[in-house]
Symmetry: D2
Subunit: 348 residues, 4 copies
């Protein structure tokens, strides 16, 4: 941590900062510049943060140098991690396709979507039973009935299930049905929820907040990790910018940036970021090419009747096109498509 | 709602849209342009939204014309509303100062801050017992012990209390101590929480999400209203932009925009938007001048030792300056400073 | 300047940075932390910037501490500046109203608008002869014919004129007619234009780029100042954010921030930031209350026929309302409305 | 174009809008909704724009339906275009690598960089002689001396040259040396410059403004096209967002969006968007995978001594890695790397 003194700071101001830091058990090095003096701090940064040095007389700025996350940082865990979801790997040499309907609507629709997902190369099924919606008048999901449908379809199709949880009170319920818990973009800083999923004993898919910096996203992961759960997969799904031609702006650079900062796997959601069917395949190709550990894609047997986000769901011959991308691109990039469970025995 | 057909849309595409709308009980008017055809829809827009018309063959775009909120809309309630918090008015002719410490730390600090708040002209006390923090390693608030301190200080100083609630599970607990429940910026789209505070029987202070559009903010208020609670005060607290010189960018235009769209009172938080003590007074003056129904300000008896956001808390002679603004500006603008409770009997 | 070494930096990496800095005539202080080492640099920061230290082996980050502007910085000129425009002051104790039509269309329209401006309390006339327009098919301004109209109207109404210049090649032409040259938001980083207006011998109104940070804005002013022209007035006119309810988001906090960083006067454009007539008066009140040195407002005798931005022009009884704000608010705030020229003899 | 009437609009208000449109030679269709009436306009939209309908009594909003650009629109030119730069194709089946130093510094450095570019697979050389810099104290480029170096190096290495022009006054000079004129991000709405390059008789590389919407970018291209020059290549180079981990946020979705809206080729600049060497290769792979028509990359023989943007220049074994990407990826995607000139005879 570096303390930048104001041009008019007095010697007493500087001494006061140094004394405060030393009283807190740290060390402080003073560098006098032509117009400013800076004080370098060595020791426990989190303790320094509590000192409110920015409020001190003569202090102009406080610059944090080290990163504020620990458990999810690559500095503390050089090897990149692999997370297993019902036996299916995410991360490592595997590239994983997660696919399914945005919302679980009926058993038939969910089963059909799961078969489409599997045909496209997916090894994990996505589907929403609890839906956070901007409008209280929009379809909010089937709740537990939806979870039961997902469990039945898992039985039938053989894919482990990831589904969203929106409330700490329903984490146990969702965890009793799902193989992986999803925290959505609007809940990325719902800290009570992060702590609850951190204690639920299931892998977590943590979507980036649409307004969150990469650092805040990793801090959200740290909340989960701090409860003892390091089975976290990060998901970039677009950030909010001034551009209105797409639903959100996919921050594709976030993938290599996160891979440098953290050991956690990171995937991309090309459906929600673009918000339009025509963008899903180009963005999927880009996601794999940039090095993402997978993609999560909306599919629906009849997008025109979908109760949620029908504009972006793949259907019909898009599925064959997606299957083509998933079977050819990982190999080109020296990686392997994560197989669906019954093939998992052969090893990934 | 208006459906914009693509340049290459066929007559069959247009007929299909019209038929779908009519089957759903609506009416559709076709206007043929030189290069495009548009279809105007009349009827229940929420029903049309469920038709996924954007997915139809030949459809280029769907433009929503009417606003998606109802209960909080000014179209349905011309008169601007006044909310009472422990007898203190927010909205109407009153301008209300809410002040107090960012976090409740000790009984002494909270009592001192409450006295500063009162001296500055405040009629409502703010103070956080449950604190949402970006880092799991930062001070998270005193929890119920903090609520008890707030209740004791209310007794002593005579100001009703607003405090944040971060989890649906603790809404009843917080409501048992507080006069008003605050939903913070990171929880503005925590829909489970919105529904819980909507049912709690207390007024709600709804902060704008730092990435939320004004429309999304009003939709969040609609979630609360839909549970039967229209005692909602909106609070603009800065949005996230590319500018880094301030903590967030105060969107001061949001006040007149919201006042045109909604009947709910709207206040400004100059402390969290600017993030710096020196900005609080200028932004408070601007807030009153633009027509806000009040401001909410951080004060602390010793900012240098504050456990949260000490950089922005007012102290010392700032308090007298704030009192000066609060006693002179409302009158210039034809409004009245909402008096603290014991004076409330005299009427506002 | 502070160099942050990567966790794995070697002693040789650190020595190499220190040697490079010393070879460039600077001094370097090394502070060893638990997980990182930082090197504080003392000396000519601009020379250090050219060393590309970020590219060195073992370097993780380079943090600039001092501000990169000099001539416009308040560190080098404590007193806040006042700029005279045809004898009318902007800055200091004066609050100045600049008003007029967005575009000069006809002599009659410009004269009528100038009289409205004067009636509203303006002491400087604005009006565009060269208009930068997003579409090549939109009205681009009258060019020199417009400048002549402005000069005639100045003669008639007695207000000095500010008008936009969009091309270095026309700076001399515009300067031969105008009392102040305006650099528009889209040209804030048109460096050839900044240098040309810096050499033109007239005061400059520098609008903030809609995507520019405050620091970039001050650097643009530095380009003008570096050519020997310190008669610069800064104008905040809204930045681009995700919010679509207003044309741009007025960054009102920029006023006190700029006043802390720079000695230059700073005014606000409530017409272009909000983009809607109804917002002009509330934002004008907020601008004065926050401490701006003036406002620049669009007026038009017949907004419905305006060739540019008619949606935001004041007309009719708005003018009386604006006059009311301009005559009452500066006094409340301890300032004086800058009088129009013939009254200037009485002193401001 | 659609006019949305306010809820309280009268019949007279509606009639007035309809009459105005008809007087302007257009047709208007009225659709009465439950709470609002909309009026659909058919005819010349640009003429309607000049009517200021938004200012009319009873008008709530005006929604433009058709796109405001014509010459660059794909609606008017279904086939995607190919632009030839000194004989080298950009667009069509070709994927083109443009590479070279950010700034021309010396003949030796430029020659070395050009050889690196060629080794990496480039068929066009980039290099800046006129540099727009945020600080007036930073290196501003060699000017005409730099253009001469570029011309000499072209002679030696055989690659056509693209270089930036920053001022309308120097367009002819730059065009006399260069094969393609670059308009930089800060000049995307420098309309005088756009018109000048539109008349210069050379292909243009138009970088997206870092704050420009895709529509504004296409309107900027329309300015060039309107002067008779349709040899335009668009370049996405990152937009400004709240994220600070990268220099800008690469909007990779812009590529498929632009390809749907416009017939012009579109390439990506992975160097300036990410701002860091480590991001260049992953983003190059992503650019090709998403379907971009090429990439433009900074290379430098000695990044640590570069006078501009050394942090992002490729060097050493990065060049071999880039060559590997350029020789393998286009084929995987069914495209061909555009060959450097002497190989061009063999056809692309």
């Amino acid at each position: 941590m570096v303390i930048v003194m104001a041009p008019g700071a007095t010697q007493a101001d500087i001494d006061s900062v140094v004394d405060t830091v030393r009283s807190a058990g740290g060390e402080a090095f003073v560098s006098r510049g032509v117009s400013r003096t800076i004080v370098g701090l060595v020791g426990d940064v989190d303790r320094f943060s509590a000192l409110n040095l920015r409020s001190r007389s003569g202090v102009s700025d406080v610059v944090r140098i080290s990163v504020p996350y620990k458990l999810v940082s690559r500095e503390h865990h050089r090897e990149r991690s692999q997370v297993l979801v019902g036996g299916v790997p995410v991360g490592g040499s595997a590239v994983t396709l997660i696919a399914g309907p945005c919302s679980v609507e009926t058993p038939e629709q969910t089963l059909a979507a799961a078969r489409m997902a599997r045909a496209a190369g997916a090894s994990i099924l996505r589907g929403g039973a609890f839906k956070p919606r901007t409008s209280p008048y929009a379809f909010q999901g089937l709740g537990e009935a939806g979870l039961k449908i997902l469990a039945d379809v898992r039985q039938e199709v053989g894919l482990p299930v990831v589904t969203e949880v929106v409330d700490p009170a329903s984490v146990d319920l969702v965890a009793s049905y799902a193989d992986m818990l999803q925290v959505g973009t609007r809940n990325m800083q719902n800290f009570a929820l992060l702590q609850a999923v951190g204690s639920a004993g299931k892998p977590v898919l943590l979507k980036r907040g649409m307004n969150a910096t990469i650092q805040e996203w990793l801090m959200a992961a740290e909340y989960i990790a701090q409860r003892g759960n390091l089975d976290i997969v990060l998901c970039e799904r677009g950030i909010r910018t001034f551009e209105t031609a797409t639903r959100n702006t996919l921050d594709i650079s976030a993938v290599p940036v996160v891979q440098r900062l953290s050991h956690l796997p990171v995937i991309i959601d090309p459906s929600h970021s673009g918000g339009h069917r025509d963008l899903v395949l180009p963005l999927t190709r880009a996601a794999l090419a940039v090095g993402a550990d997978g993609v999560i894609v909306d599919v629906h047997p009849d997008p025109a009747s979908a109760l949620c986000d029908g504009d972006q769901a793949l259907a019909g011959r898009d599925i064959a096109d997606l299957a083509d991308v998933m079977t050819t691109m990982p190999a080109m990039l020296g990686r392997t498509l994560a197989p669906a469970p019954e093939q998992a025995a052969a090893g990934v």
